[in-house]
């Protein structure tokens, strides 16, 4: 929480759990942000994000939201929101901080960016590890020399756009590549209008590890590999298309799972009595 505190960010987390369940959760994990209880799902309904796919008599599951996160500026205006179809997935702290204050986080894994004027891409993961279910961005960054440009996607015929491709593997969840907004550029020689990027250009690929949410066998390291392709041009000349492979390993942080779903001795077991609250929750919702 220190990074959030340092930036003066108010963090609120709300669920349909009863207050005492959240209090136990808070104590068990030394949570310092504000946990809020919405036991009748009124706030969830008012926000319009009740998971209506779950039948009202399907206890205790009915009442949960489509999980998601809103980020506001200091005027209370929503500037970003993050929702995922899979309720296991959620946005990571790195992206929440970035949403509020740009690249506030300095930690990274992989191939860090150096102060170079060469158009050489760097690939790295923001954060200290990859946490199961938490989406983080694999970043590919390139500094385009002044007077030159990269092609956005789609590139003109015969040229290639700046692209990051991650090799698929079964333990990885890979979402759609996020590209920066491109600029219209008129070629002096032909008058053709093309979409390009200048200066520092970043591609961001949301990824996470899926592991196995009820297993203790989450790997401790995961190898990431893939390819970057790019081509820089100026008004007259284009360099030949280039491709570069990258490969590095990232530590994996396992999922925190309810204790009644884990094996004895699992170091990720919760300190709170989850089964007690689960029974209470189920009983209250059935009455």
């Amino acid at each position: 929480m220190s990074a959030f505190d340092a930036l003066g960010i108010s963090v609120l987390a709300i669920s349909y759990d009863e207050p005492d369940a959240l209090k136990d959760f808070q104590d068990a994990y030394d949570i310092t942000y504000t946990l809020l209880s919405d036991p009748d799902s009124k706030v969830i309904r008012d926000y319009g994000i009740l998971n209506t796919l779950i039948a009202e008599d399907d206890h205790p599951w009915f009442g949960i939201p489509f999980p998601g996160t809103y980020v506001t500026d200091s005027q209370g205006t929503i500037t970003h929101k993050f929702f995922e179809n899979n309720l296991v997935l959620r946005v990571g702290p790195e992206e929440l901080l970035r949403a509020v204050d740009g690249d506030a986080l300095s930690e990274y894994i992989g191939n860090p960016v150096s102060d170079t004027t060469d158009a050489e891409p760097k690939v790295f993961l923001k954060g200290e590890h990859l946490a199961v279910g938490v989406l983080q961005h694999l970043v590919c960054q390139i500094d385009v020399p002044q007077g030159r440009h990269l092609y956005a996607d789609p590139a003109p015929q015969g040229m290639i756009p700046f692209t990051l491709t991650l090799d698929a593997q079964s333990k990885l969840v890979i979402r759609e590549l996020i590209r920066p907004a491109s600029e219209a550029h008129t070629m002096a020689s032909t008058g053709e209008i093309i979409q390009v990027n200048h200066g520092r250009v970043e591609l961001r690929l949301p990824i996470t590890a899926n592991g196995a949410i009820t297993s203790t066998t989450v790997p401790t390291m995961l190898d990431l590999s893939g390819e970057v392709s790019w081509q820089t041009c100026d008004e007259d000349v284009c360099d030949v298309p280039r491709r570069s492979r990258f490969e590095f390993s990232v530590p994996i942080e396992g999922a925190v799972v309810p204790e009644f779903m884990t094996k004895p001795g699992n170091p990720k077991v919760r300190a709170m009595d989850g089964m007690k609250h689960f029974k209470k929750m189920s009983s209250r919702r059935q009455s």
């Binding site: 930036l7 108010s10 709300i14 946990l35 200091s74 309720l87 899926n210 196995a212 929750m281």
Partner: protein, 82 residues
């Protein structure tokens, strides 16, 4: 808006693997794994004010949210219990 349920998945020796590779005891499309497929409601839009609301804090006391001149991160999560 018609919302579809994501039911893709396969049974493995450790449980049901969903479309993203996560393994759990319940079949995708049922109970807590009733996830949407495609477009689904995500509430207030970017550019709107985060709506005020009332709920309870962890001690069971009333909590009223109103904007307080700080950037705010507001998370709606499934449950701390399961």
């Amino acid at each position: 808006m018609t919302i579809e349920i994501e039911t893709r998945g396969e049974k493995t020796e450790h449980g049901w693997r969903d479309v993203d590779g996560f393994i759990g005891p319940m079949q995708p499309g049922f109970g807590p794994r009733t996830d949407p497929k495609g477009v689904f409601p995500t509430g207030p839009d970017i550019g709107e004010q985060l709506p005020a609301f009332s709920c309870l804090d962890v001690m069971g006391n009333p909590f009223d949210y109103a904007h307080d001149a700080k950037p705010t991160i507001m998370l709606f999560f499934r449950s701390a219990v399961w």
